[in-house]
Symmetry: C2
C-alpha cells in the first residue's frame, strides 16, 4: 500500500508559492506497539503553519509537511484504539496515511473524536484548536464584560468567527474586521453588530473610532500589521488585547515588522497586551469543548467551513487561506 | 506679598526650549475656608509633565505651569492644618506660593509630610510619586520572582533607580540601561548586577541578549523608543513588561512613534505588556510608603538627588531632566 506525502522542497522566502512542496510517495508504515495507523479523512490548514516554513524554524527540507488532521483507524497496535475509531491530532501531516502514537511521553496530542454529536472535521475547527483558541483567548485573555465593545480582526476566519460569537454571548457589542463584504455579511449573520472591510477604508483607524465611539475594550487580534495599529489607536481605558496571530504580516520576518509603537496609548489607557498560544491552556481543554459543544447544540454558535478536495490540493488550500481567499474555515477532505 | 509664577507662554512643538514659559508676578492669594497657603520649598520635575506641554493636552496658554512640590504652611484656613506643617501635592505648581485645598471632592492629593524620618523632598522622590511608581509597576505589574532577569531602562532616573533596587530585593538579577557611564556606575553602587550604556552600543538588542542569555523575565520600561524595541527582542517566555514612560520619544507625537511591532515576539513568549499610571494604585499608597521607608531605614534602598536652586531655574531643570543630563532625581530647591 502506497502513501502520498507532501514534503518541504524549499524554505519560504517572502511570498509563498506551491513549489515550496513536492509530492512524494512511499510505502505505508506499519504501526509498532502502542501505535495506530490512520487513513486521513480531513486535513486542516492554519495560519500557525506559516512559521514552520521559514529556514531555521525546525523543518528539514525533504521532511513531511506537518499539520493537523482527522483520520480513521485502519490498523491498531494500541489497546485503547480499535479499527474504525476516529483520531485527531496536530501531527497527522499532509499525507494519505499516518502512524500516530497516542501515548507519547508528555501530553498526548492524539484525541479520540466522538462523532455522535458533530461531524469528524469539527475536531479541526469549532471543536478543536481554532475553537479552543477563540475560547481561551477571548474569555480568559480578553475577559469581555457585558456592554464592552469587542473588536475581532480576521473576523471571518476559523478562530475569528468563533471569537466574535463568544463575545456576543458574553453580552458585548462586537465589531468584525475582514477583507471582503461577502465574509462580513456572514459575520453579521452570526451576530457581529458592525463590520469593517479594511480593504475599502483609506483611514482604518478613523473607521474603527467611528464604530467604537467609547473605545475598544477588548481587541482580539488575528492579523497584526496595519490593522493592529489602527485598532490600538482606539483602545479604551483598561482595554485587554489578545495577540493571537499575525497573518497580515506573516511573510515579513519579525525583524521587519515595523509599525506604530503603542507605548503612549498603553500608558494613557493602562491596557494589557498579551501574546497567546493555545497549548498553554490545554489542561482546561475539556471544559472548553463541553461549553463549545453546548453552544453549538443550542444554535448559539454557528460555524462556516470552506472545503477543498483531495490531497493534491493541500498546498493550494494553504495558500488560499494565507491569502484570505477562503470563506470560512479552510479544510481539505481526502 | 508677591508671588512669582512660571506660566505657559507657548505649547511645545518638537524639542523643548526655555521660552515655552515666562515668569509672571501676581499678588499672593489668601486661602479661603478649607484651604491652606504654602510657601514652596521644593519642586519636582518629572517626565510625565512633558505631555501637558502639548497643544490640546488641557493646559491653556498663560496658565500656571503645573507640577508637584513640597511647601510649608504659612497660613491655614483648614482645621486639620497648622502653620509650619509640610504639605506635598501634585498641584503646587511652579510658583513661590500656592493655595491648596486638601479636601477637594474625590481623592485628596494634598499629603501631610512627616519630616521626622526623612527630609521633606523625599516626598517628591523615593517616598512619593516616583517611589510609588517603581513600587507598583515593578512589584505588581512586573511580578519579579527570585532568579528572574529584570531589565530597567532609564535606570538612573528617579523611578528607575528605585525599580532596580526593588527587583534586587526580590532576588532578581538586575540589568540597568542608561546613557552615561557615570550614571551606570551609580546603578552598580546601589546593586544593579550589569549595566548597558545605550549610547555606546551600536547593536543594543545584541548587547541586551548578551547580558540576558536566558531572556528578559521582567522589563521595566521608562524610555520607550528604540531601547524598548531592543529589549522586546529579548523577552523570555512568560515575560512581564511594565510600560511606565516614553521619555526617549516624548518629543515625538504618539502618531509618529514608529518602531518594531512586537506581535511575533509576544506570541512566541506569551508575554504580557501593560501600561502603567501610578494613580490607579493610590488606594495602596500607605502600604507602599511604609515598605519603602523601612527599606530606606535599613539601608537597603538608596537614592540619589540632583538639586538645582531657585524658582528661576525650574524650566532649566525640567529640560535637563528631559535631556537625561541629570544624575539622580531632578529637584529644585527654592
Amino acid at each position: 500500500m502506497r502513501n502520498r506525502q507532501w514534503v518541504l522542497a524549499s524554505h519560504a522566502q517572502g511570498t509563498l508559492n506551491e513549489s515550496l512542496w513536492s509530492l512524494a510517495e512511499a510505502d505505508v508504515l506499519r504501526p509498532a506497539s502502542g501505535q495506530i495507523l490512520v487513513k486521513t479523512l480531513w486535513l486542516s490548514v492554519d495560519p500557525y503553519m506559516r512559521g514552520r516554513l521559514n529556514a531555521g524554524a525546525g523543518m528539514q527540507l525533504g521532511s513531511l509537511m506537518q499539520g493537523g488532521g482527522v483520520g480513521e483507524v485502519v490498523e491498531s497496535n494500541h489497546p485503547g484504539w480499535k479499527i474504525g475509531d476516529i483520531a485527531e491530532g496536530p501531527d497527522v501531516g499532509w499525507q494519505d496515511y499516518a502512524v500516530l502514537t497516542p501515548d507519547l511521553p508528555g501530553a498526548s496530542k492524539v484525541n479520540k473524536v466522538d462523532t455522535r454529536s458533530a461531524p469528524p472535521q469539527a475536531a479541526l475547527s469549532w471543536l478543536g484548536m481554532p475553537g479552543l483558541t477563540a475560547y481561551f483567548a477571548m474569555l480568559d485573555v480578553g475577559r469581555p464584560r457585558p456592554g464592552d465593545t469587542v473588536v475581532v480582526s480576521a473576523a471571518a476566519g476559523a478562530v475569528g468567527q468563533i471569537a466574535g460569537q463568544l463575545a456576543r454571548l458574553a453580552g458585548c457589542r462586537v465589531v468584525g474586521i475582514a477583507g471582503s463584504d461577502r465574509k462580513l455579511d456572514w459575520c453579521k449573520t452570526i451576530g457581529f453588530d458592525e463590520t469593517i472591510n479594511y480593504k475599502a477604508m483609506p483611514d482604518l483607524a478613523a473607521e474603527v473610532g467611528r464604530c467604537c465611539p467609547g473605545g475598544v475594550n477588548v481587541f482580539f487580534d488575528g492579523t497584526g500589521g496595519p490593522i493592529h495599529d489602527a485598532v490600538m489607536k482606539n483602545l479604551a481605558t483598561g482595554a485587554r488585547v489578545a495577540i493571537v496571530g499575525r497573518v497580515a504580516v506573516a511573510n515579513n520576518p519579525a525583524g521587519e515588522d515595523v509599525g506604530l509603537r503603542a507605548s503612549s496609548r498603553l500608558i494613557a489607557t493602562r491596557a494589557v497586551v498579551q501574546g497567546f498560544v493555545v497549548y498553554d491552556w490545554w489542561n482546561r481543554r475539556d471544559e472548553a469543548l463541553q461549553r463549545l459543544a453546548a453552544w453549538h447544540a443550542s444554535g448559539e454558535l454557528k460555524f462556516r467551513e470552506d472545503v477543498m478536495n483531495g490531497l493534491e490540493n493541500v498546498p493550494r488550500a494553504f495558500m488560499r487561506m494565507m491569502g484570505g481567499e477562503n470563506f470560512g474555515k479552510q479544510l481539505v477532505q481526502l
